[in-house]
Each structure stands twice: as structure tokens, then as C-alpha cells.
Symmetry: C2
Subunit: 227 residues, 2 copies
DNA sequence: TTACAAACGTAATTTATATCACATTTTTAA
DNA sequence: TTAAAAATGTGATATAAATTACGTTTGTAA
């Protein structure tokens, strides 16, 4: 289901898009298509040619990349946010894939239109740069945590990530299977299972299948920090 | 040793700076100071307030960040390249540190001057964005490799990195101690020692203290890929 | 409703790599 | 030049977490 979008009146505008003029937003609307994806659908795929910047209006998405041995989840993001700036601007073809983890509404902005805005609207360019900078610093920290924390700490960190960054709630349905969660925190299904039940037994979280309720925020933070 | 720099005639201009007009380059020169650092010197430090974009003209630099348990090297870069865009633009204070691994010549560009160029010269902004995008994609790949490769593969990868990305030669002096190298590939001094002598014994590299000569490029690539 | 597959839990075992311990070499400074 | 400190090499041991194995639950299609 693809439809032309009226960016001008879009309630999900990015910080960058908010600085665009009405004329520019109209132009963007003429060069942008929206699509809806169900959970599990591929939004874009590594290795495929792409000529769009993907903007995630609503929904949760996992970004994943082919590693030396298997596919690896590198990031989970929630809209509104840009999804594919690095993958598109730098190269002709996508350097990673994006898959919906919930119902997703995404806009595909023509890359040359986007480029025009960068080159002709300095404030827009600046906001895009800020966004990329934030991503880089976050990624640095994530890398260090993956290297230095033990799995228990990484699991705690991931649970807090879903709670704070994705669902804004201490009670939520995990949008991943145990295997996927294991992959996300660089571990395995079995280890995740073990640690989850540990945290449940210790009354730090309440676990009911995929539903997680954080019972002891303080201790969970402690585990996340101490690794 | 700090001196005002004539950016206009600088032979180390970044791809982005090459699109600046003569007037802009003169303005940059007026708002930019150069400094020289010896190996081991701190170029900027995490947590410290910063109002400059750091441009590495010449030299090798390690970027490192405080992790949950210890300081972690997140990146090693060679000039010419920007060093501190994410760390400076996003936040008032540095989110990571940079330390010289060789004699380094670096320029400290006033952040509001830099911001002016981003906002008033679209091509400049676009080149900066391209640069940030490349960094992000590279970082994605590095993360996956760290997670999925065994140490032997990560050591091989790091040796090839120094050979191809830093020294453009198959024979070079490692600018890191074994401990630092261990940290760089998320391992330890002892393990690095062991693997290095292994690779030496297998005649894949020639090892003489810190000097490395790659003897069997093909097998080293194989080890790097297979992990 | 049954049947089949996918997801999940858990215990036993294995393994890669960290840690420990100590000897040797190299570098630095006095 | 000598002494102290830092860096390095290497074997033995410990350990976190993967792998293996198998039983159970949940979801889904016929």
C-alpha cells in the first residue's frame, strides 16, 4: 500500500523537517511515498540498490547486517526517526537491512530531493548532522558495553533499553524471540532463557512469556552498570 | 605550540574544506589554531568542555572512551580526517578522548565558524554528512566483527587494518603496546602475545618486537574472514 | 481437534579465552 | 652504568558462556 504523502501537514515531522519551508515540504511530499509494513516485513534489504532515504514515522524496527558467521542485529529503533541515511547516502546499495518489529509506517524520500534540502537549507543539514553525531556517540557506548559487560549486565541493559527508549513503560511485550534477543545482546537463546528466569526468580522482573514487567528498577540498573 | 593557520593554502584540506570558497577558507584560517602533539599526548579528553571541531591534519590517533570497567579504544584514525565532530557538535563536553599515537598536527576549528559553513555552504554540509555516514557504516561492521569473530580473526583483522588503512604497507611498527592492542581487539595482553607468536611461527607474519611484516597476505585474510 | 513446527526451558558438557603466576626482555630515569 | 619500571612471553588454571541434548509449551495450519 503506497500513497503520496502530504509532508506539509504530517504530524510526525523530524526535527530536521520542521525547519523546512512550506514550499520545501510540498516538494518533499511530491517526492515521497509512504508504505505500511506488518511485523516481520522487510523494509529494506542489505545489498539491494536504493534511491530513497527511509524515514520511520511510526513503529519499531530492527536493523541487521550480515556478519562473518550470521545475521546480526545492530540496532533497534522507534519512530519517528530516519532509518537509512548512512546506508543510502554513502553507497548506492544498502549496507544493512531493516525489518519491522511492529506495524510500521515509513516514508521513502527521493534521495536527490533530500540532497537538495541538505544543500540548500543549512539548518536542515545541521539537524541531520546532529542526528548522525548522536547516533555515532550512542554506537560508541553500545560497543564498549558489549565488550566490557557480562551477559547479565547486557541483558539488564537491553531490558532497560526497551523500557526507556522503546516503550516508555516498565511493562511491555518484548518484540523479539529469545533467539533474537540473544542475538541483539551478542549471546544465545539458552543463556537469555537462564538469565531471564534468574531475574524473575530474584523478583527483579516479572516474566510471563514475552511480557516483561520491571519490578526492581534500582537493582536492574545496578546489574546493568556493574555488568 | 599554537599558531594561526592559513587554511587557504593548506595542503591537507578535507574533502569538505575543498568546496569552501577562498573567503570562507580565509575566515576558517582566522578561527582556527594548529597544535602539535607528541606520541602519548592527549588531544582532547572525555568530559571536558569543548568549543572546537578537531581536524587531524597528519598523524595517527586513538579514540577511547570510559567503559563500565576500564578505558576502551573505540577507533584508530589517520590524518587527514575530522576527529571530533560527534563529540563536539552533539554535546557541550567531549564524549570520548583522543590521544596521539604518533607525532600529530591537528587544527582546532572554532565550532561556531564550522557551524556557519554547514549552514551556509550546502556542499560543505553534504560532504560532512557523507563522512559521518561512512563512519557509521564502518562502525556497524566493526561491531559485528567484534561480536562474531574469534580473537585470532580479530587480531588478523587488526593487523590488516594497520597495514591497509594506516601505513599503506605490509611492513610497519605497531604504534600500540601488546596491552593496548589487546584492548583494541577486545582481548588481553597475554592472548595477543600468544596469537602473535602463533602467526609468526606459522610464517604468516614476521614479528620483531613492535615491528610487523606481513608474509602471507592470503592466509592472513583467510584467518580474518573465517574468524 | 489434531498434527506439526516453532519457540522455549533447563541440565550436562565443552571450550575459548581470561586470569594468574612468574621469568625474561626492553625502556626509562637517576 | 646501574637500578627501577614497564613491557613482553609463556605455561598452568579458572571460568563465563557456548554448545549439546532433550523435554515442554505455544502457536498455527490442516
Amino acid at each position: 500500500m503506497i500513497e503520496i504523502q502530504a509532508c506539509l501537514i504530517c504530524p510526525f515531522k523530524s526535527t530536521a523537517a520542521k525547519v523546512l519551508s512550506d514550499d520545501e515540504l510540498t516538494l518533499m511530499g511530491d517526492n515521497c511515498a509512504q508504505a505500511t509494513f506488518k511485523k516481520g516485513n522487510t523494509i529494506f534489504k542489505q545489498g539491494i540498490f536504493s534511491s530513497n532515504i527511509v524515514y520511520l514515522k511510526e513503529g519499531i524496527v530492527q536493523m541487521h547486517i550480515e556478519g562473518p558467521t550470521n545475521e546480526q542485529i545492530i540496532k533497534i529503533a522507534k519512530g519517528p526517526t530516519y532509518l537509512g541515511i548512512p546506508t543510502t547516502l554513502d553507497e548506492k546499495y544498502n549496507r544493512y537491512s531493516a525489518t519491522a518489529l511492529s506495524e510500521v509506517h515509513a516514508c521513502f524520500i527521493n534521495i536527490s530531493t533530500f540532497k537538495t534540502f541538505v544543500q540548500e537549507n543549512g539548518q536542515f543539514a545541521y539537524e541531520i548532522i546532529l542526528d548522525l553525531c548522536k547516533n555515532e556517540v550512542n554506537l560508541f557506548n553500545k560497543c564498549v558495553n558489549r565488550v566490557q559487560k557480562h551477559i547479565r549486565g547486557r541483558v539488564a541493559e537491553a531490558i532497560l533499553f526497551f523500557s526507556h527508549e522503546i516503550f516508555d513503560s516498565n511493562s511491555f511485550d518484548l518484540p523479539l524471540t529469545r533467539s533474537e534477543f540473544g542475538n541483539f545482546v551478542a549471546s544465545t537463546r539458552e543463556t537469555i532463557s537462564r538469565i531471564m528466569t534468574e531475574l524473575h526468580t530474584e523478583k527483579i522482573i516479572l516474566l510471563k512469556g514475552k511480557h516483561i514487567t520491571i519490578l526492581d528498577n534500582k537493582r536492574l540498573h545496578l546489574i546493568s552498570r556493574s555488568g
